[in-house]
């Protein structure tokens, strides 16, 4: 790595921190501007004024806003993130407990969608005008355009409630516990539970890599080096895989960061349809119950993941295409 490129990376990291700080500040303000009050979750005939005051004190809501803000920044910077109002447990613990489930589902779906999407995109470009393209493209578009909760419900109705091939909710059968993440990942029970949410998610995500790959392939196939390869008499398969597809992948790789950001939105919906115990459901509940610390913590973590992925995509781009350089000229 050259000196210029390491400086560039350091600059990008500094920018990342700045963006995170801005997001943290917006989060802090936005939850406090929302109508409602975290105490309403406790409304009960036996809820006394004395209890109200005790709660306000315990939640730290009695402090002036600027003090709350400083405490929050400190907590976020140390990764502690405070105590959830709703669960009365540390936010960090709640987030770490549910994060693996979300990463498995989202990460798995993004990878599968990319593998299937780029392969199908390359195939459709290669077979431009064939019947396969005429059927495939509208199908891919329809799957992409359908709301993900609707697709999820259809899959549930068919494969779970009618055919009974797959369970409808959760990550494990009743009473089943996994000792480790590795054991969970390799357990057939878990994979059966993963199947439907993953399929819904892949259908939701596949459109972007597929269409991007196809149009990028169509461009590349016009280029001289492909014509040259044909003139050399190379087999079509080899031209497709070694020459055209490889070059067409570049914009698709850049869009990876975009897909990650996009998938986080889909994750919230899909986790709710399939009762998947992940970060998305934690987030929905936290926002609904005005659990400021938990909502802030979960959103901040999601923002950090999205920003990090953007950085990785930039780095990957330069690595894939040596014509792109980090250094400013």
């Amino acid at each position: 790595m050259t000196r210029a490129s390491s400086r560039w990376i350091a600059q990008r990291l500094a920018q990342m921190l700045l963006v995170l700080w801005v997001i943290a500040t917006i989060l802090f303000l936005i939850f406090r501007l929302m109508p409602g009050n975290p105490l309403v979750a406790y409304i009960d005939p036996n809820f006394t004024a004395e209890q109200q005051r005790a709660l306000v004190h315990e939640f730290g809501l009695a402090l002036p806003l600027w003090q709350q803000y400083l405490l929050y920044l400190k907590a976020s910077a140390t990764g502690h993130m405070g105590q959830s109002f709703f669960y009365h447990a540390p936010v960090a613990q709640l987030v770490w407990e549910t994060l693996p489930n979300t990463l498995i589902l989202t990460g798995g779906a993004v990878i599968v969608a990319y593998l299937l999407g780029t392969a199908a995109g390359a195939f459709f470009a290669w077979r431009r005008g064939a019947a396969a393209e005429g059927i495939g493209i509208p199908l891919a578009l329809a799957a992409r355009a359908a709301p993900e909760f609707w697709v999820g419900m259809i899959l549930l109705a068919v494969f779970s409630f009618s055919l009974r091939w797959f369970p409808s909710s959760g990550t494990a059968s009743p009473g089943v516990q996994y000792a480790s993440v590795w054991q969970q990942l390799t357990s057939p029970d878990f994979l059966r539970h993963l199947a439907l949410p993953l399929a819904t998610f892949v259908l939701y995500l596949q459109g972007l890599p597929l269409l991007l790959m196809r149009s990028s392939m169509l461009d590349v196939m016009e280029e001289e080096f492909v014509v040259m390869a044909r003139m050399k008499g190379l087999p079509e398969r080899r031209i497709l895989l070694r020459h055209a597809a490889r070059n067409a992948l570049l914009p698709v790789a850049t869009a990876f960061a975009l897909v990650i950001g996009y998938s986080l939105g889909g994750d919230v919906v899909i986790e709710n349809v399939f009762s998947w115990p992940g970060l998305g459901r934690l987030l929905v509940k936290a926002v609904a119950s005005k659990d400021y610390p938990l909502a802030q913590g979960a959103f901040l973590l999601i923002a950090a993941v999205a920003i990090l992925m953007n950085l990785l995509a930039d780095l990957a781009y330069a690595w894939l295409d040596p014509r792109v350089s980090y250094a400013k000229r």
Binding site: G36, N37, E58, T171, F274
Partner: protein
């Protein structure tokens, strides 16, 4: 020139009309007697179609009295904040009280909902102030003789029916379902006012075949499993199985001895309790009189805030011998058995004393403590808890009322349709939380004979609450006229699809012992309501809008 003058006069008239706040053609005196536009807040249709529909039908009736009524849906977080913390601002709201076993005693509802002492920042959010009512409500609280107390409870209900602080809509029917091939229907218990999802079903349900685990559902995740923290409603299903109580509310809705073998009132402020012998904590240690005393005295400190109100009246507890305890109260408290002995969980002192001590000098209280393996003495033992997914309990064979099932597994299913599908494909065998359309569930049970649905009238009730701080809602005659102009039968049939009984009191008809018979029913009649208003001096202007009585004018802005 003349045209200009005319235009100027017109502009002036418009400005004047805007300032006065009425259209042209009405006199000043009439305008200010006119009742302002009234706002009825309710849940959004998507979140609670029943309350939303009820609000729309109710508003339609009110309009027939010459009122301008706007129905304004708000998300629950916003609505509760508005009604609860802005007590001078709102006019009317739909609201509900949910059924809970402890509410089988009318004390909590009669006192906390309508006492002047809770009007400022407690549950009397409507600001209902009536010294005569306060007296009766307090008198029933200290009447330890059940017959005398029942008379006072009837009296309180009659006063409320007369004053109509709320328009009572329905006692909804709670719907639950189970798989009758897995559970023997004879062993499923329907508890009065609660339904078949109750403690008695859980300890008595007997498996018919190889499936010995009960798999139930709840829409909300479990927040905490903590005997000293009243958290979400779902959490209470778990805690009441792990931790025993001295008294349990029986299937008939009345208290019965449980961990207490017997109890006797020595006098109205002294209760002797004999403990059942041979009880053991789940870690094998015996349940002692000291443990029981600790369970009731710990909330008197500062670290168990939610249970504190329930033990406030206990002056002292003394162990007369190894199995007999004497409770001394500050004041007579008739509902003590239900609201305190039936409410507090018995906790092991050897577990909780050190945990509470570790909190000394800290901001946190017992609610932020979570045992890794909760230890109680109840009929079920804790096995595991996977957050957002499930809680697993297993039967405690050492318990004197050992359950017949093997495990009790509560699954979090966020999606109502998925819960129904799960009942059909066997993933669930007991539908314990269903907020969807009742007709869908009933249709499912018709198609699939394995599924039994049980609907039972709930202790809870749905109502429209009026802010009595804001005229015209301070006038009982006006409130009564509203109740008569609202077609409650239509609400029962359309909004609740017939799954509910018309309510006439905050005490549910399901509580046969406490519900006052022969309360005035206020049948739907717009004409009778208008006559009532007319008699009280209300009038109507030429547009048919309702006017206050002659000596009264509108003083308030439209609710925002």
């Amino acid at each position: 020139m003349r045209a200009q003058m005319l235009r100027g006069a017109f502009v002036f008239a418009v400005i004047a009309a805007l300032v006065v706040g009425t259209g042209p053609g009405r006199t000043q005196a009439q305008a200010s007697r006119q009742v302002r536009e009234l706002v009825l807040v309710t849940w959004p249709q998507a979140a609670d179609p029943q309350q939303y529909e009820a609000a729309r039908i109710a508003a339609e009736g009110m309009r027939k009295l010459g009122l301008k009524v706007t129905v304004r849906p708000m998300p629950w977080e916003q609505l509760s904040d508005y009604v609860w913390y802005n007590r001078q601002k709102w006019d009317m709201t739909t609201w509900q009280m949910v059924g809970r076993p402890e509410r089988s005693d009318p004390d909590e509802i009669l006192v906390n909902l309508f006492s002047s002492s809770t009007a400022k920042d407690g549950y009397n959010f409507i600001g209902f102030i009536d010294p005569a009512y306060d007296e009766v409500a307090q008198a029933q609280r200290s009447a330890t003789d059940p017959e005398r107390r029942r008379k006072l409870v009837y009296e309180a209900q009659r006063m409320l029916a007369e004053k109509q602080p709320y328009t009572f809509l329905v006692n909804p029917k709670s719907l639950y379902a189970y798989n009758n091939q897995v559970w023997d229907p004879k062993t499923i218990v329907d508890q009065k006012g609660i339904g078949i999802k109750n403690f008695w079903t859980f300890i008595q349900a007997t498996p018919k075949g190889a499936q010995k685990d009960m798999v139930l559902n709840a829409q909300d995740p479990v927040q905490a499993i903590n005997p000293l923290y009243i958290s979400g409603k779902v959490d209470s299903w778990v805690t009441e199985l792990i931790w025993d109580r001295l008294v349990r509310i029986g299937p008939d809705g009345l208290p019965r001895p449980w961990a207490a073998a017997a109890y006797t009132w020595v006098n109205p402020t002294t209760l002797d309790v004999t403990l059942r012998s041979g009880m053991k904590w789940h870690d094998g240690r015996p349940v002692t009189a000291e443990d029981v005393i600790f369970s009731f005295m710990a909330p008197k400190g500062a670290k168990v805030p939610m249970y504190k109100p329930f033990v406030a009246n206990i002056a002292a507890i003394k162990a007369l011998n190894a199995t007999t305890l004497r409770f001394t109260l500050d004041r007579p408290q008739a509902a003590f058995l239900t609201s305190t002995l039936g409410k507090l969980n018995l906790v092991p002192r050897h577990v909780w004393e050190p945990m509470l001590q570790s909190l000394e000098g800290k901001k946190e209280n017992a609610e932020s403590l979570q045992e890794r393996t909760p230890i109680g003495s109840g009929p079920f033992k804790f096995v595991s808890w996977t957050r957002g997914q499930e809680v697993v309990l297993e039967a405690n064979p050492q318990h004197w009322a050992a359950p017949r099932m093997h495990r009790w597994i509560l699954r979090t299913v966020a999606n109502v349709e998925a819960a129904l599908g799960g009942l059909r494909n066997g993933e669930l065998n007991f539908l314990s939380d269903y907020l969807g359309d009742p007709q869908v569930l009933v249709r499912l049970s018709r198609q699939d004979p394995r599924i039994t649905v049980v609907a039972s009238t709930d202790i809870g009730f749905q109502f429209i609450a009026y802010n009595e701080r804001r005229p015209p809602f301070n006038d009982p005659v006006f409130r009564k006229a509203l109740s008569m102009a609202i077609d409650r039968t239509m609400i029962r049939l359309v909004a609740y699809k017939g799954y509910g009984v018309l309510a006439d009191s905050p005490v549910s008809k399901a509580l046969e012992f406490w519900h006052a018979p022969g309360l005035p029913q206020l049948p739907y009649s717009v004409q009778a309501a208008r006559d009532l208003l007319k008699k009280a001096g209300y009038d109507w202007d030429s547009q048919g809008r309702l006017l206050y009585p002659a000596n009264q004018t509108e003083t308030l802005e439209v609710a925002r």
